[in-house]
Amino acid sequence: MRALVIDDSSTTRMILRRMLGEIGFDDISDATNGQEGLDSLIAGPTPEVVLVDWNMPVMDGYEFVKAVRAKPEYDNTPLMLVTTETELDRIVAALEAGANEYVMKPFTRDVIEEKLALLGLESH
């Protein structure tokens, strides 16, 4: 299974890479902002899921979600927002823009696994 992790924090990228690896993802790429993530997505291959941070320089998670959903070829690519934001309206805005799920920091591997299962991605 392939995953793309987009976060400006190397710490979060490392944590998510490790958790996703334990869950069964064997091809994990990462990017440090939304634009880099978008470029990586377009360069392919298309991942089974994209985990994207909310607060990032250059292009934030919300703009990334809008940019991906503007491309019909990625209509079926699940996007999961990873955020510390606690404002319901911002989460709703991201979901309305096309994000499929969200997870709040701090998170555990179990939480990530549960959210992936909601997207139909079962651990191996």
């Binding site: 924090s9 710490t11 490392m14 944590i15 607060n55 510390t84 606690t86 998170f107 555990t108």
Partner: protein, 159 residues
């Protein structure tokens, strides 16, 4: 005008949020607490994150002696004590911890001030002392082998 958060109201929120992060992300036992000395010790690097309200600016800091920052970073990153870690990765891990704890503080303080917005964390390689224009509160939380200074700064004058 929004409700003004008294500096003492930060104490419980900081501790609850730190406890939550310690148990969920660091897999450490619940934190224990004592009051911090005044003035703060020298050489206390840490990460600070702004919480900006409609009427007041606040700042939350998570600081520790360097070896404790290293311990927290390695714990967060599932590393062994003897593993090599760069200074940049330690700073980034401290920023991420401040981000997570700051989010928890904001969630709790938002019950009083609904206008708070969380900014981006910044790491400082030394003690950040409050200025004459700032009120502050500081407690020391112990999580695992680390002593963490939890610092809240509030600008006395409204925006």
């Amino acid at each position: 005008m929004t409700a003004v958060l008294g500096i003492s109201q930060w104490r419980d929120s900081m501790l609850e949020a730190t406890d939550e992060v310690a148990q969920s992300s660091l897999m450490l036992d619940a934190v224990t607490v004592r009051e911090a000395p005044s003035p703060l010790p020298r050489d206390l690097p840490g990460s600070y994150i702004p919480l900006v309200g409609e009427d007041y600016n606040y700042e939350f800091g998570l600081a520790a002696k360097w070896e404790h920052c290293e311990y927290l970073a390695k714990t967060l990153l599932f590393m062994d004590p003897g593993d090599e870690i760069s200074d940049d990765d330690i700073a980034d891990a401290m920023n991420e911890l401040a981000n997570m704890v700051g989010g928890g503080v904001k969630k709790r303080m938002a019950e009083i001030d609904t206008t708070l917005k969380l900014g981006l964390p910044a790491f400082f390689n030394g003690t950040v002392h409050p200025t004459a224009e700032q009120e502050h509160v500081c407690v020391i939380a112990t999580a695992g082998e680390a002593e963490i200074y939890l610092i809240a700064l509030k600008h006395k004058a409204p925006l």
